[in-house]
Symmetry: C2
Subunit: 437 residues, 2 copies
């Protein structure tokens, strides 16, 4: 945490002028009758600013892109909005024209329920792909959520719960800092546990030279006064160094979405001091991104892969992703096995330029520069197997790979691969409601 | 099987003039004393032609490339050889100068033991990475193997066992066909179960515009009379459509090697008729490649991913590999879940150009054109969940993805991801000999 940022409670209602709620409206159609075995986890969230806000967004670059993403890309482009509605239990992806109609209807119905102008509500969805939305349930949920809006931390927690799917924990954070003499707040909630290797851009289109790689949803609110263009630039930077740097299982979702609403109620000066805002937004995004990895499906160990000395950023990124997504590396992490052979094999087959005789591989505690090297210049060091096992035994550690070919570096926040991940995701076809997106 | 090819026994000794053997020389240094709990699986194989042969090879494009691969690339370039020695239990990879020296010594020692000219022996290794070779054991093994050479199917089976690592079955095949009035035989053995997504080229260098992705080892013998250049072209074609089209776990090894020795003893005409030789070699490679996928670590289901209608081969290949390597798709296969949402998500995040509204996804029995479509033009069909579950219930099935954008296609032979794979590869750090490459 940067010294000038203070952690505060309330996540998305921490900033002035925001209210939130979360309700259960049975989007998975589990049945709500008495005796239903399924719990009634909330599944529809509403977040509203009391005044119009500027908005920025980042969206999945998956070419199979969900209807709510398409709706948001178009609406965010205008630069302002005032509320957002999001559901879990149904991704509204691969649902064709009906899906687009339903996503639009979710927004319009929310506008009516809150008496907001047309075009001022954004939409997010996560859950099973290819099932059309249960719009009667959605409409009932929106009305209930609108009635239930409030600005206590409990209201924010309801919304954080409502967007969860396979998440085991709600994910929330908020910070406060001074900007031009005014107190400014930034807070967010997010969800994501599987189908996690986001690669988002502002338009949902891929940057030509930068192929990117959950459903993850993240909604951020701030009372900063900031122009939409500046906000978008800040969000792009924050996402590039947080959500776009995590992987649980290498699968990029059809629905990944990050949205920020900035309503200006902090009253900070219109220009200047945005370095600190950037730091706050980046901090919020990174904390939320790390929560996703820690709560990844079946995850038992968290590994931060730090590649240094690459010829270019894209080389560093490619090498880090190859290691972070290698099933053999990930299973060795699960086993507590310091198997550098699998690591150098993954680095070697990555698209990055690598010279085997120059590669260093080592371990440290999270964030520490005190590295135990297992490989130096392509050769095993004298570190004992016992010492290396001890280095990879903690629940979280850093893996350092130095290619010693240049000055570029990249970090990927990764996780191990466990029997629990496989068991969870193979599902149970005798109970289709158990099957994930 | 092509009608003109006849399956015959004997694999690598089926062709005239070849002898083989396999011995146990304790390359993993498990100890051989009485009471040792570990079995004495053979771990060193020898294959020898009684006359000089032309040779061709294909090698891993991993930039961390094992010493025996470096030795073979150099030797195969000359175009002829007479024998090959291969071991399991140690990959001789990331072993630096000592590794190169040891790989060279394996070849030279075999030349001496068999009184063959310098440069006439090729080397292959598979096993744990980063451990120097136990050369005393290797030398003792080579002498014992040289003494034990023979040309019965049992001798071939010994060699096939000796190259196994995590394989549960020896992998062998041989065929016979007529070429220019002469009977010609082609046979091979191979190994591989994990670290399997070969991407081999003739030089071990990557084709610039074609990023490729086990250790797998494959040794083929034939009595065909064929020039080295023609043999190399035939092998490149055969490998491109077999070993380079399989994936178990998306990890490319440091050691992947395919070698063919052709000793000419069939006496076929020097030119002409090589279409049939190509068919035979391609058949042998494809049968062996499929055996690797079927025996993949923890594998319970085999899926042939057939992408059609792509704009280019590289698009078709990229889409097929994205599906074949997606942890979420692979776990759904394990669970018998016809989850097309995960499949279209993988296709959508692949580098291939995809238009969601055009994508068809369906299933058939292996090789059948009778396809049950789950998705047509991006929309779910009326196929029932029960019918789709039945389509993905068999141990082997074909998955058809039609992008409907062009005329290019690609096939990938893939497998599911199981708890057993994870359990096997996390290993047991209290027993380092259990830890794989």
């Amino acid at each position: 945490m940067i010294a000038k940022l203070t952690a505060i409670p309330g996540s998305i209602v921490a900033a002035r002028g925001f209210r939130a709620s979360g309700v259960f409206c049975d989007i998975k159609r589990l049945g709500t009758g008495k005796g239903s075995a399924k719990g009634k986890k909330r599944d529809l969230a509403l977040i509203v600013s009391e005044v119009p806000a500027t908005v920025a967004g980042m969206f999945t670059t998956n070419q199979a892109c969900a209807a709510p993403v398409k709706v948001c890309v178009e609406r965010v482009e205008k630069g302002n909005a005032q509320a957002l509605v999001a559901n879990s239990g149904n991704a509204n992806a691969c649902t064709g024209r009906q899906g687009l109609k339903d996503a639009g209807e979710m927004a319009r119905f929310t506008e009516q329920a809150l008496t907001l102008p047309p075009g001022s509500v954004l939409v997010g969805s996560t859950g099973r792909i290819g099932v059309t939305m249960p719009m009667d349930n959605i409409r009932a949920g929106i009305i209930e959520a609108a009635v239930g809006l409030g600005s206590t931390p409990d209201h924010a927690a309801q919304a954080a719960e409502a967007i969860m799917t396979s998440d085991t924990k709600a994910k929330q954070v908020a910070v406060e800092f001074k900007l031009g003499g005014k107190s400014v707040r930034v807070g967010g909630i997010c969800k994501g546990a599987g189908m996690i290797q986001p690669g988002m851009s502002a338009t949902g289109k891929r940057p030509a030279a930068n192929p990117l790689h959950a459903t993850m949803l993240c909604f951020i609110t701030t009372d900063a006064r900031i122009e939409a263009k500046v906000l978008q630039a800040a969000l792009r930077e924050a996402v590039a160094n947080s959500f776009n740097r995590i992987t649980v299982d290498s699968d990029m979702s059809t629905n990944d979405t990050v949205l920020v609403l900035a309503n200006g109620l902090a009253g900070n000066p219109k220009s200047g001091g945005f370095g600190l805002f950037q730091a706050a937004l980046s901090h919020v995004c990174l904390e939320l991104a790390k929560m996703i990895v820690r709560d990844g499906e079946g995850v038992s160990r968290i590994v931060t892969v730090r590649v240094n000395g690459a010829k270019s950023f894209s080389d560093a990124d490619a090498a880090a992703r190859a290691v972070a997504n290698s099933p053999l590396v990930k299973t060795s992490w699960h086993g507590g096995d310091p198997n550098w052979g699998r690591i150098i094999a993954a680095v070697g087959y990555s698209p990055a330029t690598v010279v085997e005789e120059k590669v260093d591989i080592g371990y440290s505690a999270p964030g520490s520069r005190d590295i135990l090297w297992s490989l130096k210049r392509g050769q095993p060091t004298k570190a004992t197997f016992k010492a290396l096992c001890a280095a990879v035994a903690p629940k979280e550690f850093d893996l350092h790979v130095n290619l010693n070919l240049g000055r570029s570096s990249a970090v990927i926040y990764a996780a191990d691969l466990t029997e629990e991940y496989v068991d969870f995701n193979k599902g149970d076809v005798t109970d289709p409601t158990s099957l994930g997106g």
